[in-house]
Symmetry: C2
Subunit: 331 residues, 2 copies
Protein backbone atom coordinates (compact mmCIF):
# COMPACT_ATOMS: atom_id res chain seq x y z
CA UNK A 1 0.00 0.00 0.00
CA UNK A 2 0.94 3.56 -0.68
CA UNK A 3 3.81 2.48 -2.86
CA UNK A 4 4.14 5.70 -4.77
CA UNK A 5 6.37 5.62 -7.79
CA UNK A 6 8.19 8.21 -9.80
CA UNK A 7 7.23 9.14 -13.34
CA UNK A 8 3.85 7.55 -13.12
CA UNK A 9 1.24 9.64 -14.90
CA UNK A 10 -2.37 9.56 -15.89
CA UNK A 11 -1.20 8.21 -19.20
CA UNK A 12 -0.08 4.85 -17.85
CA UNK A 13 -3.19 4.59 -15.74
CA UNK A 14 -5.32 5.39 -18.78
CA UNK A 15 -3.67 2.66 -20.78
CA UNK A 16 -3.97 0.15 -17.97
CA UNK A 17 -7.65 0.93 -17.56
CA UNK A 18 -8.34 1.23 -21.25
CA UNK A 19 -9.72 4.75 -21.10
CA UNK A 20 -8.67 8.25 -22.11
CA UNK A 21 -6.43 10.35 -19.95
CA UNK A 22 -9.18 12.82 -19.26
CA UNK A 23 -11.25 10.06 -17.72
CA UNK A 24 -8.49 9.25 -15.31
CA UNK A 25 -8.33 12.87 -14.34
CA UNK A 26 -12.07 12.95 -13.80
CA UNK A 27 -12.03 9.77 -11.81
CA UNK A 28 -10.04 11.68 -9.21
CA UNK A 29 -11.48 15.18 -9.36
CA UNK A 30 -15.08 14.75 -10.54
CA UNK A 31 -16.10 11.12 -10.16
CA UNK A 32 -19.76 12.15 -10.42
CA UNK A 33 -19.20 12.85 -14.12
CA UNK A 34 -18.31 9.23 -14.80
CA UNK A 35 -20.23 6.03 -14.49
CA UNK A 36 -19.53 4.39 -11.14
CA UNK A 37 -18.01 1.33 -12.79
CA UNK A 38 -15.59 3.37 -14.86
CA UNK A 39 -14.50 5.19 -11.77
CA UNK A 40 -13.99 1.93 -9.99
CA UNK A 41 -12.00 0.42 -12.82
CA UNK A 42 -9.75 3.45 -13.08
CA UNK A 43 -9.22 3.71 -9.36
CA UNK A 44 -8.25 0.09 -9.16
CA UNK A 45 -5.78 0.42 -11.99
CA UNK A 46 -4.31 3.48 -10.32
CA UNK A 47 -4.09 1.73 -7.00
CA UNK A 48 -2.37 -1.27 -8.51
CA UNK A 49 0.21 0.83 -10.26
CA UNK A 50 0.74 3.04 -7.24
CA UNK A 51 -0.33 6.17 -9.04
CA UNK A 52 -0.58 9.41 -7.12
CA UNK A 53 -1.74 12.63 -8.81
CA UNK A 54 0.99 15.17 -9.27
CA UNK A 55 0.13 18.17 -7.15
CA UNK A 56 2.39 20.49 -9.05
CA UNK A 57 0.90 19.77 -12.43
CA UNK A 58 -2.53 20.07 -10.94
CA UNK A 59 -1.69 23.41 -9.39
CA UNK A 60 -0.26 24.74 -12.62
CA UNK A 61 -3.39 23.88 -14.46
CA UNK A 62 -5.96 24.95 -11.88
CA UNK A 63 -4.15 27.65 -9.96
CA UNK A 64 -5.09 25.88 -6.75
CA UNK A 65 -2.13 24.54 -4.79
CA UNK A 66 -3.74 23.39 -1.61
CA UNK A 67 -1.07 25.22 0.37
CA UNK A 68 -1.20 28.00 2.91
CA UNK A 69 1.57 29.81 4.73
CA UNK A 70 1.90 30.85 8.35
CA UNK A 71 4.56 33.34 9.33
CA UNK A 72 5.52 34.05 12.93
CA UNK A 73 8.23 36.29 14.39
CA UNK A 74 9.85 33.50 16.38
CA UNK A 75 8.90 29.85 16.38
CA UNK A 76 10.80 29.34 19.62
CA UNK A 77 8.80 31.94 21.51
CA UNK A 78 6.57 29.69 23.62
CA UNK A 79 3.57 31.78 22.74
CA UNK A 80 3.52 30.54 19.15
CA UNK A 81 3.91 26.76 19.08
CA UNK A 82 0.38 26.06 20.35
CA UNK A 83 -0.93 28.54 17.83
CA UNK A 84 1.03 26.91 15.05
CA UNK A 85 -0.14 23.52 16.08
CA UNK A 86 -3.77 24.59 16.14
CA UNK A 87 -3.55 26.18 12.70
CA UNK A 88 -1.86 23.04 11.47
CA UNK A 89 -4.56 20.73 12.73
CA UNK A 90 -7.23 22.93 11.27
CA UNK A 91 -5.48 23.00 7.90
CA UNK A 92 -5.21 19.27 8.02
CA UNK A 93 -8.97 18.92 8.16
CA UNK A 94 -9.10 20.54 4.73
CA UNK A 95 -6.15 18.61 3.37
CA UNK A 96 -4.03 21.72 3.15
CA UNK A 97 -0.28 21.78 3.49
CA UNK A 98 1.17 24.57 5.57
CA UNK A 99 4.40 26.39 5.02
CA UNK A 100 5.92 27.80 8.15
CA UNK A 101 8.01 30.96 8.10
CA UNK A 102 10.14 32.46 10.83
CA UNK A 103 10.60 36.18 10.31
CA UNK A 104 13.08 36.47 13.14
CA UNK A 105 11.30 39.65 14.25
CA UNK A 106 12.62 41.33 11.11
CA UNK A 107 10.32 43.15 8.65
CA UNK A 108 12.72 42.61 5.76
CA UNK A 109 12.91 38.93 6.40
CA UNK A 110 9.16 38.74 6.74
CA UNK A 111 8.69 40.51 3.45
CA UNK A 112 11.10 38.14 1.80
CA UNK A 113 9.25 35.14 3.14
CA UNK A 114 5.89 36.40 1.99
CA UNK A 115 7.33 36.91 -1.46
CA UNK A 116 8.79 33.44 -1.52
CA UNK A 117 5.58 31.81 -0.39
CA UNK A 118 3.09 33.87 -2.26
CA UNK A 119 3.63 32.07 -5.55
CA UNK A 120 2.71 28.69 -4.20
CA UNK A 121 0.00 29.31 -1.63
CA UNK A 122 -3.63 30.14 -1.75
CA UNK A 123 -3.49 32.26 1.34
CA UNK A 124 -1.30 33.47 4.20
CA UNK A 125 -1.54 34.09 7.90
CA UNK A 126 0.74 36.64 9.52
CA UNK A 127 1.02 36.34 13.28
CA UNK A 128 2.22 39.41 15.19
CA UNK A 129 3.47 40.80 11.92
CA UNK A 130 6.37 43.21 12.00
CA UNK A 131 5.46 44.58 8.57
CA UNK A 132 4.20 48.11 7.96
CA UNK A 133 0.51 48.59 7.31
CA UNK A 134 1.32 49.46 3.72
CA UNK A 135 3.22 46.25 3.02
CA UNK A 136 0.50 44.21 4.64
CA UNK A 137 -2.10 45.87 2.49
CA UNK A 138 0.00 45.33 -0.61
CA UNK A 139 0.29 41.62 0.10
CA UNK A 140 -3.36 41.33 1.03
CA UNK A 141 -4.23 42.69 -2.38
CA UNK A 142 -2.57 39.71 -4.03
CA UNK A 143 -3.82 36.84 -1.91
CA UNK A 144 -6.23 36.09 0.88
CA UNK A 145 -4.41 37.19 4.03
CA UNK A 146 -5.35 36.98 7.69
CA UNK A 147 -3.64 38.77 10.57
CA UNK A 148 -3.22 37.60 14.14
CA UNK A 149 -2.61 40.18 16.85
CA UNK A 150 -2.29 43.03 14.44
CA UNK A 151 -5.07 45.49 13.90
CA UNK A 152 -5.11 46.83 10.34
CA UNK A 153 -8.41 48.13 9.10
CA UNK A 154 -9.75 46.30 6.07
CA UNK A 155 -7.69 43.18 6.64
CA UNK A 156 -9.38 40.20 8.31
CA UNK A 157 -7.78 39.80 11.73
CA UNK A 158 -7.87 37.80 14.92
CA UNK A 159 -7.02 39.73 18.07
CA UNK A 160 -6.29 38.38 21.52
CA UNK A 161 -7.52 40.87 24.08
CA UNK A 162 -5.37 40.37 27.16
CA UNK A 163 -7.09 43.39 28.72
CA UNK A 164 -10.09 41.40 29.88
CA UNK A 165 -7.96 38.86 31.72
CA UNK A 166 -5.80 41.54 33.26
CA UNK A 167 -8.88 43.31 34.59
CA UNK A 168 -9.96 40.05 36.17
CA UNK A 169 -6.53 39.72 37.72
CA UNK A 170 -6.80 43.14 39.34
CA UNK A 171 -10.26 42.34 40.64
CA UNK A 172 -9.02 39.04 42.00
CA UNK A 173 -6.18 40.74 43.86
CA UNK A 174 -8.54 43.33 45.28
CA UNK A 175 -10.92 40.64 46.41
CA UNK A 176 -8.31 38.74 48.36
CA UNK A 177 -7.34 41.92 50.16
CA UNK A 178 -4.58 43.65 48.24
CA UNK A 179 -4.82 47.46 48.28
CA UNK A 180 -1.61 48.35 46.51
CA UNK A 181 -0.19 46.52 43.49
CA UNK A 182 2.46 47.01 40.85
CA UNK A 183 2.52 46.29 37.14
CA UNK A 184 5.91 45.08 35.93
CA UNK A 185 5.97 46.24 32.35
CA UNK A 186 7.59 44.62 29.33
CA UNK A 187 8.93 46.11 26.08
CA UNK A 188 7.57 49.67 26.00
CA UNK A 189 6.84 49.65 22.26
CA UNK A 190 4.88 46.40 22.40
CA UNK A 191 1.18 46.58 21.59
CA UNK A 192 0.46 43.90 24.18
CA UNK A 193 2.37 45.71 26.88
CA UNK A 194 0.49 48.93 26.33
CA UNK A 195 -2.77 47.07 26.34
CA UNK A 196 -1.95 45.32 29.60
CA UNK A 197 -0.59 48.33 31.40
CA UNK A 198 -3.63 50.36 30.53
CA UNK A 199 -5.95 47.60 31.68
CA UNK A 200 -4.19 47.42 35.04
CA UNK A 201 -4.42 51.20 35.50
CA UNK A 202 -8.07 51.41 34.62
CA UNK A 203 -9.19 48.44 36.66
CA UNK A 204 -7.20 49.61 39.67
CA UNK A 205 -8.73 53.07 39.44
CA UNK A 206 -12.21 51.69 39.35
CA UNK A 207 -11.58 49.50 42.39
CA UNK A 208 -9.69 52.16 44.31
CA UNK A 209 -6.39 50.29 44.35
CA UNK A 210 -3.09 52.06 44.34
CA UNK A 211 -0.88 51.00 41.43
CA UNK A 212 2.76 51.59 40.58
CA UNK A 213 4.57 50.78 37.37
CA UNK A 214 7.96 49.13 37.50
CA UNK A 215 9.87 48.69 34.26
CA UNK A 216 11.63 45.47 33.38
CA UNK A 217 13.75 46.55 30.42
CA UNK A 218 13.12 43.34 28.51
CA UNK A 219 10.73 40.50 29.15
CA UNK A 220 12.88 37.87 30.76
CA UNK A 221 13.49 35.84 33.85
CA UNK A 222 16.50 37.89 34.89
CA UNK A 223 14.74 41.19 34.35
CA UNK A 224 11.94 40.04 36.61
CA UNK A 225 14.34 38.91 39.27
CA UNK A 226 16.16 42.22 39.23
CA UNK A 227 12.94 44.18 39.35
CA UNK A 228 12.06 42.75 42.75
CA UNK A 229 14.04 45.43 44.59
CA UNK A 230 12.10 48.21 42.91
CA UNK A 231 8.88 46.33 43.44
CA UNK A 232 9.35 45.99 47.17
CA UNK A 233 10.25 49.63 47.81
CA UNK A 234 6.85 50.67 46.48
CA UNK A 235 5.26 48.93 49.41
CA UNK A 236 2.92 46.97 47.17
CA UNK A 237 1.75 43.53 48.23
CA UNK A 238 1.23 41.99 44.80
CA UNK A 239 2.56 42.24 41.25
CA UNK A 240 1.13 41.63 37.83
CA UNK A 241 3.89 40.91 35.35
CA UNK A 242 3.95 41.55 31.62
CA UNK A 243 4.45 37.85 30.97
CA UNK A 244 5.03 34.51 32.66
CA UNK A 245 8.77 34.56 32.25
CA UNK A 246 9.03 37.86 34.06
CA UNK A 247 6.70 36.53 36.72
CA UNK A 248 8.95 33.52 37.27
CA UNK A 249 11.85 35.90 37.70
CA UNK A 250 9.92 37.83 40.31
CA UNK A 251 9.18 34.59 42.12
CA UNK A 252 12.89 33.81 42.17
CA UNK A 253 13.79 37.29 43.44
CA UNK A 254 11.18 36.98 46.17
CA UNK A 255 12.51 33.58 47.20
CA UNK A 256 16.03 35.02 47.29
CA UNK A 257 14.79 37.41 49.97
CA UNK A 258 12.87 34.75 51.86
CA UNK A 259 9.51 36.27 51.05
CA UNK A 260 6.82 33.61 50.90
CA UNK A 261 4.37 33.41 48.01
CA UNK A 262 1.40 33.76 48.17
CA UNK A 263 1.28 34.37 51.94
CA UNK A 264 3.39 37.53 51.96
CA UNK A 265 3.23 38.58 48.33
CA UNK A 266 1.00 37.77 45.36
CA UNK A 267 2.24 37.28 41.81
CA UNK A 268 0.29 37.11 38.55
CA UNK A 269 1.78 36.32 35.14
CA UNK A 270 0.43 36.70 31.66
CA UNK A 271 0.08 34.33 28.67
CA UNK A 272 -0.16 31.04 30.51
CA UNK A 273 2.89 29.72 28.80
CA UNK A 274 4.02 27.35 31.52
CA UNK A 275 0.71 25.76 32.37
CA UNK A 276 0.66 24.35 35.88
CA UNK A 277 4.13 22.94 35.41
CA UNK A 278 5.99 25.00 37.95
CA UNK A 279 5.98 25.05 41.70
CA UNK A 280 4.23 26.97 43.04
CA UNK A 281 2.05 27.02 39.96
CA UNK A 282 1.58 30.47 38.55
CA UNK A 283 -1.64 32.44 38.61
CA UNK A 284 -1.80 33.94 35.14
CA UNK A 285 -3.92 35.23 32.30
CA UNK A 286 -4.90 32.72 29.63
CA UNK A 287 -3.62 33.38 26.13
CA UNK A 288 -6.16 31.85 23.73
CA UNK A 289 -3.43 31.29 21.20
CA UNK A 290 -4.90 27.92 20.25
CA UNK A 291 -8.23 29.49 19.42
CA UNK A 292 -6.47 32.28 17.60
CA UNK A 293 -4.61 29.86 15.36
CA UNK A 294 -7.70 27.88 14.66
CA UNK A 295 -9.86 30.93 14.02
CA UNK A 296 -7.28 32.46 11.72
CA UNK A 297 -7.19 29.38 9.58
CA UNK A 298 -10.97 29.12 9.43
CA UNK A 299 -11.15 32.74 8.43
CA UNK A 300 -8.57 32.16 5.76
CA UNK A 301 -10.53 29.25 4.37
CA UNK A 302 -13.63 31.39 4.11
CA UNK A 303 -11.67 34.10 2.40
CA UNK A 304 -10.24 31.62 -0.06
CA UNK A 305 -13.65 30.39 -0.98
CA UNK A 306 -15.63 33.59 -1.25
CA UNK A 307 -13.35 36.25 -2.61
CA UNK A 308 -15.53 38.85 -0.94
CA UNK A 309 -13.07 40.77 1.20
CA UNK A 310 -15.14 41.38 4.26
CA UNK A 311 -13.66 43.44 7.05
CA UNK A 312 -13.64 40.87 9.82
CA UNK A 313 -12.29 41.70 13.27
CA UNK A 314 -12.46 38.71 15.54
CA UNK A 315 -11.61 39.44 19.17
CA UNK A 316 -10.84 36.75 21.71
CA UNK A 317 -11.07 37.79 25.31
CA UNK A 318 -8.92 36.24 27.99
CA UNK A 319 -9.51 35.16 31.55
CA UNK A 320 -7.67 34.87 34.78
CA UNK A 321 -6.41 31.42 35.67
CA UNK A 322 -6.09 31.28 39.41
CA UNK A 323 -3.36 28.96 40.65
CA UNK A 324 -1.06 29.10 43.62
CA UNK A 325 0.86 32.34 43.50
CA UNK A 326 -2.07 34.43 44.68
CA UNK A 327 -3.99 32.03 46.89
CA UNK A 328 -2.62 29.18 48.96
CA UNK A 329 -3.73 25.57 48.60
CA UNK A 330 -5.94 25.69 51.66
CA UNK A 331 -8.25 28.50 50.71
Amino acid sequence: MNGQKEGLTIKQVAEAAGVARSSVSRAFTRPEMLSPETVKRIREAAEKLGYVPNQTARALSTGRHGNVALIVPDVANPFFPPLIRAAQMEADRSDLCVFLGNSDEDPKQEDKLVGRFTGQVEGLILASSRLSDERIQAHAALRPLVLINRDVEGIPRVLIDSGSGVREAVAHLAEIGHRHIVYVSGPTKSWSNKQRRRAVRMAADVLGLKVDIVAAAVASFEAGREAVGSILVTGATAAIAFDDLTAQGILAGLADRGIRVPEQFGVVGCDDVLGAATYPSLTTVSNRSVEAGKAALSLLLELMQSQSVRDVRYVLDTHLVVRNTTIGHGE
Copy 2:
Protein backbone atom coordinates in the same frame (compact mmCIF):
# COMPACT_ATOMS: atom_id res chain seq x y z
CA MET B 1 8.77 47.83 -5.33
CA ASN B 2 7.79 44.23 -5.15
CA GLY B 3 4.48 44.95 -6.80
CA GLN B 4 3.80 41.42 -7.95
CA LYS B 5 0.91 40.96 -10.34
CA GLU B 6 -1.27 38.07 -11.34
CA GLY B 7 -1.23 36.48 -14.77
CA LEU B 8 2.06 38.01 -15.72
CA THR B 9 4.23 35.58 -17.65
CA ILE B 10 7.51 35.42 -19.47
CA LYS B 11 5.56 36.13 -22.62
CA GLN B 12 4.70 39.72 -21.72
CA VAL B 13 8.20 40.32 -20.46
CA ALA B 14 9.59 38.89 -23.69
CA GLU B 15 7.46 41.23 -25.75
CA ALA B 16 8.31 44.23 -23.61
CA ALA B 17 12.02 43.48 -23.91
CA GLY B 18 11.85 42.42 -27.54
CA VAL B 19 13.35 38.96 -27.02
CA ALA B 20 12.22 35.34 -27.08
CA ARG B 21 10.55 33.78 -24.10
CA SER B 22 13.45 31.44 -23.53
CA SER B 23 15.74 34.39 -23.11
CA VAL B 24 13.59 35.72 -20.34
CA SER B 25 13.76 32.37 -18.68
CA ARG B 26 17.51 32.32 -19.01
CA ALA B 27 17.84 35.84 -17.71
CA PHE B 28 16.58 34.49 -14.43
CA THR B 29 18.04 31.01 -14.25
CA ARG B 30 21.27 31.18 -16.26
CA PRO B 31 22.23 34.79 -16.83
CA GLU B 32 25.75 33.69 -17.74
CA MET B 33 24.39 32.31 -21.01
CA LEU B 34 23.24 35.73 -22.11
CA SER B 35 25.07 38.92 -22.86
CA PRO B 36 25.11 41.18 -19.83
CA GLU B 37 23.17 43.86 -21.63
CA THR B 38 20.39 41.53 -22.67
CA VAL B 39 20.10 40.33 -19.12
CA LYS B 40 19.92 43.89 -17.92
CA ARG B 41 17.27 44.83 -20.45
CA ILE B 42 15.15 41.83 -19.62
CA ARG B 43 15.47 42.31 -15.91
CA GLU B 44 14.49 45.93 -16.18
CA ALA B 45 11.45 45.08 -18.26
CA ALA B 46 10.48 42.42 -15.75
CA GLU B 47 10.98 44.79 -12.86
CA LYS B 48 8.88 47.47 -14.46
CA LEU B 49 6.03 45.10 -15.14
CA GLY B 50 6.29 43.52 -11.73
CA TYR B 51 7.00 40.07 -13.11
CA VAL B 52 7.78 37.23 -10.73
CA PRO B 53 8.62 33.74 -12.00
CA ASN B 54 5.92 31.17 -11.36
CA GLN B 55 7.37 28.61 -9.00
CA THR B 56 4.79 26.01 -9.84
CA ALA B 57 5.42 26.06 -13.56
CA ARG B 58 9.13 25.99 -12.91
CA ALA B 59 8.76 23.01 -10.62
CA LEU B 60 6.65 21.12 -13.12
CA SER B 61 9.23 21.61 -15.76
CA THR B 62 12.37 20.98 -13.73
CA GLY B 63 11.15 18.69 -11.01
CA ARG B 64 12.78 20.99 -8.51
CA HIS B 65 10.35 22.73 -6.18
CA GLY B 66 12.64 24.40 -3.71
CA ASN B 67 10.57 22.98 -0.88
CA VAL B 68 11.38 20.67 1.97
CA ALA B 69 9.16 19.26 4.70
CA LEU B 70 9.76 18.84 8.39
CA ILE B 71 7.47 16.59 10.38
CA VAL B 72 7.41 16.50 14.15
CA PRO B 73 5.18 14.58 16.56
CA ASP B 74 4.04 17.68 18.40
CA VAL B 75 4.88 21.26 17.58
CA ALA B 76 3.82 22.33 21.04
CA ASN B 77 6.25 20.01 22.78
CA PRO B 78 8.89 22.50 23.92
CA PHE B 79 11.64 20.26 22.67
CA PHE B 80 10.79 20.93 19.03
CA PRO B 81 10.32 24.66 18.48
CA PRO B 82 14.03 25.48 18.74
CA LEU B 83 14.76 22.60 16.39
CA ILE B 84 12.14 23.80 13.93
CA ARG B 85 13.47 27.30 14.10
CA ALA B 86 17.01 26.18 13.45
CA ALA B 87 16.02 24.06 10.47
CA GLN B 88 14.00 26.97 9.18
CA MET B 89 16.87 29.42 9.36
CA GLU B 90 19.15 26.95 7.66
CA ALA B 91 16.64 26.35 4.89
CA ASP B 92 16.32 30.05 4.45
CA ARG B 93 19.98 30.35 3.59
CA SER B 94 19.33 28.19 0.55
CA ASP B 95 16.07 29.91 -0.34
CA LEU B 96 14.05 26.85 0.48
CA CYS B 97 10.49 26.93 1.73
CA VAL B 98 9.65 24.55 4.52
CA PHE B 99 6.42 22.74 5.08
CA LEU B 100 5.74 21.89 8.68
CA GLY B 101 3.77 18.82 9.65
CA ASN B 102 2.40 17.80 13.01
CA SER B 103 1.90 14.06 13.23
CA ASP B 104 0.18 14.28 16.61
CA GLU B 105 2.25 11.30 17.73
CA ASP B 106 0.26 9.15 15.33
CA PRO B 107 1.92 6.90 12.72
CA LYS B 108 -1.11 7.01 10.45
CA GLN B 109 -1.23 10.75 10.52
CA GLU B 110 2.49 10.91 9.91
CA ASP B 111 2.19 8.63 6.93
CA LYS B 112 -0.61 10.74 5.54
CA LEU B 113 1.46 13.88 5.91
CA VAL B 114 4.46 12.37 4.20
CA GLY B 115 2.23 11.34 1.35
CA ARG B 116 0.73 14.78 1.07
CA PHE B 117 4.09 16.50 1.10
CA THR B 118 6.10 14.11 -0.95
CA GLY B 119 4.71 15.35 -4.25
CA GLN B 120 5.87 18.87 -3.74
CA VAL B 121 9.12 18.66 -1.86
CA GLU B 122 12.65 17.74 -2.71
CA GLY B 123 13.31 16.15 0.62
CA LEU B 124 11.91 15.49 4.08
CA ILE B 125 13.07 15.51 7.66
CA LEU B 126 11.31 13.29 10.16
CA ALA B 127 11.91 14.22 13.77
CA SER B 128 11.28 11.54 16.38
CA SER B 129 9.32 9.63 13.79
CA ARG B 130 6.58 7.32 14.99
CA LEU B 131 6.66 5.38 11.72
CA SER B 132 7.81 1.79 11.41
CA ASP B 133 11.25 1.14 9.96
CA GLU B 134 9.60 -0.29 6.88
CA ARG B 135 7.51 2.77 6.17
CA ILE B 136 10.50 5.00 6.70
CA GLN B 137 12.55 2.98 4.29
CA ALA B 138 9.75 3.04 1.75
CA HIS B 139 9.56 6.81 1.89
CA ALA B 140 13.30 7.19 1.85
CA ALA B 141 13.36 5.24 -1.40
CA LEU B 142 11.30 7.94 -3.06
CA ARG B 143 12.95 11.10 -1.81
CA PRO B 144 15.95 12.28 0.15
CA LEU B 145 14.98 11.75 3.76
CA VAL B 146 16.78 12.55 6.99
CA LEU B 147 15.86 11.29 10.44
CA ILE B 148 16.27 13.05 13.76
CA ASN B 149 16.41 10.94 16.90
CA ARG B 150 15.59 7.75 15.14
CA ASP B 151 18.21 5.18 14.32
CA VAL B 152 17.42 3.28 11.14
CA GLU B 153 20.35 1.75 9.37
CA GLY B 154 20.89 3.02 5.87
CA ILE B 155 18.93 6.23 6.41
CA PRO B 156 20.91 9.40 7.09
CA ARG B 157 20.18 10.41 10.67
CA VAL B 158 21.02 12.92 13.35
CA LEU B 159 21.00 11.52 16.84
CA ILE B 160 21.10 13.41 20.08
CA ASP B 161 22.96 11.23 22.51
CA SER B 162 21.49 12.08 25.85
CA GLY B 163 23.52 9.20 27.23
CA SER B 164 26.66 11.26 27.61
CA GLY B 165 24.88 13.94 29.60
CA VAL B 166 23.06 11.39 31.70
CA ARG B 167 26.34 9.72 32.57
CA GLU B 168 27.67 13.08 33.67
CA ALA B 169 24.57 13.51 35.79
CA VAL B 170 25.13 10.21 37.55
CA ALA B 171 28.77 11.09 38.16
CA HIS B 172 27.75 14.46 39.50
CA LEU B 173 25.29 12.91 41.93
CA ALA B 174 27.89 10.40 43.07
CA GLU B 175 30.40 13.15 43.57
CA ILE B 176 28.15 15.17 45.84
CA GLY B 177 27.54 12.14 47.99
CA HIS B 178 24.51 10.28 46.70
CA ARG B 179 24.74 6.48 46.96
CA HIS B 180 21.28 5.47 45.84
CA ILE B 181 19.36 7.10 42.99
CA VAL B 182 16.28 6.45 40.91
CA TYR B 183 15.55 6.93 37.25
CA VAL B 184 12.01 8.07 36.57
CA SER B 185 11.30 6.66 33.14
CA GLY B 186 9.16 8.10 30.35
CA PRO B 187 7.26 6.38 27.51
CA THR B 188 8.59 2.84 27.45
CA LYS B 189 8.63 2.58 23.65
CA SER B 190 10.58 5.81 23.25
CA TRP B 191 14.07 5.53 21.86
CA SER B 192 15.27 8.39 24.06
CA ASN B 193 13.86 6.80 27.16
CA LYS B 194 15.63 3.53 26.53
CA GLN B 195 18.85 5.34 25.87
CA ARG B 196 18.61 7.34 29.08
CA ARG B 197 17.63 4.47 31.27
CA ARG B 198 20.49 2.39 30.02
CA ALA B 199 22.94 5.21 30.54
CA VAL B 200 21.82 5.63 34.13
CA ARG B 201 22.14 1.92 34.77
CA MET B 202 25.58 1.61 33.30
CA ALA B 203 27.03 4.71 34.88
CA ALA B 204 25.62 3.77 38.26
CA ASP B 205 27.11 0.30 38.01
CA VAL B 206 30.51 1.67 37.19
CA LEU B 207 30.40 4.05 40.13
CA GLY B 208 28.91 1.53 42.53
CA LEU B 209 25.64 3.39 43.01
CA LYS B 210 22.40 1.63 43.69
CA VAL B 211 19.71 2.49 41.16
CA ASP B 212 15.97 1.87 41.00
CA ILE B 213 13.62 2.48 38.11
CA VAL B 214 10.28 4.14 38.71
CA ALA B 215 7.83 4.37 35.85
CA ALA B 216 5.90 7.54 35.08
CA ALA B 217 3.30 6.30 32.62
CA VAL B 218 3.57 9.34 30.41
CA ALA B 219 6.02 12.21 30.42
CA SER B 220 4.18 14.97 32.18
CA PHE B 221 4.13 17.20 35.19
CA GLU B 222 1.36 15.26 36.88
CA ALA B 223 3.00 11.92 36.25
CA GLY B 224 6.16 13.20 37.90
CA ARG B 225 4.25 14.50 40.85
CA GLU B 226 2.46 11.22 41.35
CA ALA B 227 5.67 9.25 41.02
CA VAL B 228 7.11 10.87 44.13
CA GLY B 229 5.51 8.34 46.45
CA SER B 230 7.13 5.44 44.64
CA ILE B 231 10.39 7.32 44.47
CA LEU B 232 10.58 7.88 48.20
CA VAL B 233 9.84 4.32 49.21
CA THR B 234 12.95 3.16 47.39
CA GLY B 235 15.01 5.10 49.89
CA ALA B 236 16.95 6.91 47.18
CA THR B 237 18.26 10.42 47.78
CA ALA B 238 18.16 11.72 44.23
CA ALA B 239 16.23 11.25 41.00
CA ILE B 240 17.04 11.62 37.34
CA ALA B 241 13.87 12.20 35.36
CA PHE B 242 13.14 11.30 31.76
CA ASP B 243 12.53 14.95 30.97
CA ASP B 244 12.24 18.40 32.50
CA LEU B 245 8.48 18.35 32.76
CA THR B 246 8.57 15.17 34.78
CA ALA B 247 11.34 16.65 36.89
CA GLN B 248 9.21 19.70 37.64
CA GLY B 249 6.43 17.39 38.72
CA ILE B 250 8.79 15.60 41.05
CA LEU B 251 9.82 18.94 42.48
CA ALA B 252 6.18 19.74 43.14
CA GLY B 253 5.53 16.36 44.75
CA LEU B 254 8.56 16.78 46.96
CA ALA B 255 7.42 20.25 48.00
CA ASP B 256 3.97 18.85 48.80
CA ARG B 257 5.67 16.65 51.35
CA GLY B 258 7.87 19.41 52.72
CA ILE B 259 11.05 17.82 51.42
CA ARG B 260 13.66 20.45 50.65
CA VAL B 261 15.59 20.47 47.36
CA PRO B 262 18.51 20.13 47.04
CA GLU B 263 19.30 19.75 50.75
CA GLN B 264 17.25 16.61 51.34
CA PHE B 265 16.78 15.35 47.81
CA GLY B 266 18.44 15.96 44.46
CA VAL B 267 16.62 16.23 41.16
CA VAL B 268 17.97 16.18 37.61
CA GLY B 269 15.90 16.76 34.49
CA CYS B 270 16.60 16.13 30.85
CA ASP B 271 16.36 18.28 27.71
CA ASP B 272 16.94 21.72 29.22
CA VAL B 273 13.60 22.91 28.03
CA LEU B 274 12.97 25.49 30.73
CA GLY B 275 16.35 27.13 30.86
CA ALA B 276 17.05 28.75 34.20
CA ALA B 277 13.54 30.15 34.28
CA THR B 278 12.19 28.26 37.27
CA TYR B 279 12.88 28.44 40.95
CA PRO B 280 14.82 26.59 42.08
CA SER B 281 16.41 26.36 38.65
CA LEU B 282 16.66 22.82 37.40
CA THR B 283 19.85 20.84 37.01
CA THR B 284 19.40 19.12 33.67
CA VAL B 285 20.97 17.63 30.57
CA SER B 286 21.41 19.91 27.56
CA ASN B 287 19.42 18.98 24.47
CA ARG B 288 21.31 20.18 21.38
CA SER B 289 18.07 20.39 19.46
CA VAL B 290 19.18 23.54 17.69
CA GLU B 291 22.26 21.81 16.33
CA ALA B 292 20.18 18.80 15.43
CA GLY B 293 17.78 20.86 13.35
CA LYS B 294 20.55 22.65 11.63
CA ALA B 295 22.55 19.51 10.97
CA ALA B 296 19.53 17.66 9.64
CA LEU B 297 18.85 20.34 7.12
CA SER B 298 22.48 20.50 6.00
CA LEU B 299 22.50 16.77 5.61
CA LEU B 300 19.32 16.92 3.58
CA LEU B 301 20.81 19.54 1.31
CA GLU B 302 23.81 17.33 0.66
CA LEU B 303 21.56 14.39 -0.06
CA MET B 304 19.51 16.45 -2.47
CA GLN B 305 22.57 17.46 -4.39
CA SER B 306 24.51 14.24 -4.61
CA GLN B 307 22.03 11.42 -4.91
CA SER B 308 24.62 9.09 -3.41
CA VAL B 309 22.82 7.58 -0.48
CA ARG B 310 25.61 7.48 2.02
CA ASP B 311 24.87 5.95 5.38
CA VAL B 312 25.47 8.93 7.61
CA ARG B 313 25.01 8.71 11.35
CA TYR B 314 25.63 12.04 12.98
CA VAL B 315 25.73 11.92 16.77
CA LEU B 316 25.53 14.96 19.03
CA ASP B 317 26.59 14.41 22.58
CA THR B 318 25.07 16.25 25.52
CA HIS B 319 26.31 17.60 28.79
CA LEU B 320 25.10 18.15 32.29
CA VAL B 321 24.01 21.66 33.14
CA VAL B 322 24.36 22.03 36.88
CA ARG B 323 21.88 24.41 38.44
CA ASN B 324 20.13 24.51 41.79
CA THR B 325 18.24 21.26 42.25
CA THR B 326 21.34 19.23 43.02
CA ILE B 327 23.60 21.76 44.69
CA GLY B 328 22.55 24.73 46.79
CA HIS B 329 23.57 28.30 46.05
CA GLY B 330 26.24 28.38 48.69
CA GLU B 331 28.39 25.51 47.46
